[in-house]
């Protein structure tokens, strides 16, 4: 399985994500710079967390307009699997590969803590190793994770069953407690929590591993 991680200037979870992939899947992912023209052939592409371009203007806005994102969009449309974590999620919404937008947390403060999440469905590429309705514990660390979409968009997200994770309790003002989201085709996932920081019980929780294991599971079967 080929995993590619895209690094933008200001990305800071690239190494953590690579380590998690290595630890959980035993696969050496490829980290590429957003200045490359093309994304190598990949089974899974990850846009990791961080502050791409300082998160200036709006989180993820500048990164979403990088030329490499044309190739990502193309691959996304072809069905390649893509995960955007935290800033990666913001980049994907700014690129409109996922609906809605991530506003400032309603507290207006950065929030760093472990949160409980509910797995909405386990029939996707990213969640087959979880149970539907299972509650898991994964850290968040963001300033702009307050999911917003207009009513029509929100209705269609719900109607299409595109919500991947919901916060069990409200944390940042997200509509419908949305913590993670699929595109309509279910090959693109964006999520605010950091599964790559939850792959070793010594750091508090291992509940994030299964995002990666699910992907591998799908690949090998």
């Amino acid at each position: 399985m080929n995993v590619t991680i895209i690094r933008f200037p200001g990305t800071n979870c690239d190494l953590d994500t690579a380590n998690a992939v290595k630890k959980v899947l035993g696969i050496e992912p490829k980290i590429i710079s957003c200045k490359e023209n093309k994304i190598p052939k990949s089974d899974l592409i990850i846009i990791p967390g961080g502050f791409s371009y300082g998160d200036y203007l709006r989180s993820g806005a500048i990164a979403a307009r990088e030329p490499i994102m044309d190739d990502l969009e193309l691959k996304g449309n072809q069905g390649v699997y893509i995960i955007g974590i935290c800033n990666g999620f913001q980049i994907l919404t700014e690129r409109k590969l996922l609906p809605g937008s991530l506003l400032k947390n309603s507290s207006l403060k950065f929030i760093s803590k472990n949160v409980e999440l509910k797995i909405t469905r386990n029939d996707t590429y990213f969640t087959s190793k979880y149970q539907t309705n299972e509650i898991v514990n994964i850290p968040i660390a963001h300033h702009d994770g307050n999911f917003f979409a207009d009513q029509d968009t929100l209705d269609s997200i719900e109607a299409n069953n595109q919500v991947a994770f919901r916060y069990l309790n409200p944390v940042n003002g997200s509509l419908n407690n949305i913590a993670g989201l699929y595109n309509k085709n279910l090959n693109i996932l964006g999520l605010m929590p950091h599964p790559e920081r939850a792959v070793d019980i010594r750091t508090g929780t291992k509940d994030g591993s299964r995002v990666f294991e699910s992907a591998l599971n799908f690949y090998s079967t």
């Binding site: 203007l57 500048i62 307009r65 700014e94 937008s101 309603s106 207006l108 917003f148 979409a149 207009d150």
Partner: protein
């Protein structure tokens, strides 16, 4: 030429910053101020043949980068 782009959250988008300012003012005893909303302004120098040309250019970069039209609306001023 100078250009300013004013960017505001769409009315239906909640503005927690505006709300926070409003409640801070209420705490300070200021109750005659309401409906506070916070937006951005982006100023720049632009080289262009004429105002129209400049306007077009600014419109283009605003749509493609400066504003996120899912949540924001904008207006442009050139001088």
């Amino acid at each position: 030429m100078k250009a300013i782009v004013y960017i505001r959250l769409k009315t239906e988008v909640l503005d927690p910053q505006g709300q926070a300012i409003e409640s801070a003012l209420k705490n300070l005893g200021e109750s005659t101020i309401n409906n506070i909303r916070q937006g951005k302004l982006i100023e720049m120098d632009i080289e262009a043949k004429n105002i129209k040309d400049a306007e077009e250019k600014i419109e283009k970069i605003t749509k493609s980068l400066l504003a996120n039209t899912v949540i924001e609306e904008y207006s442009i001023e050139i001088s």
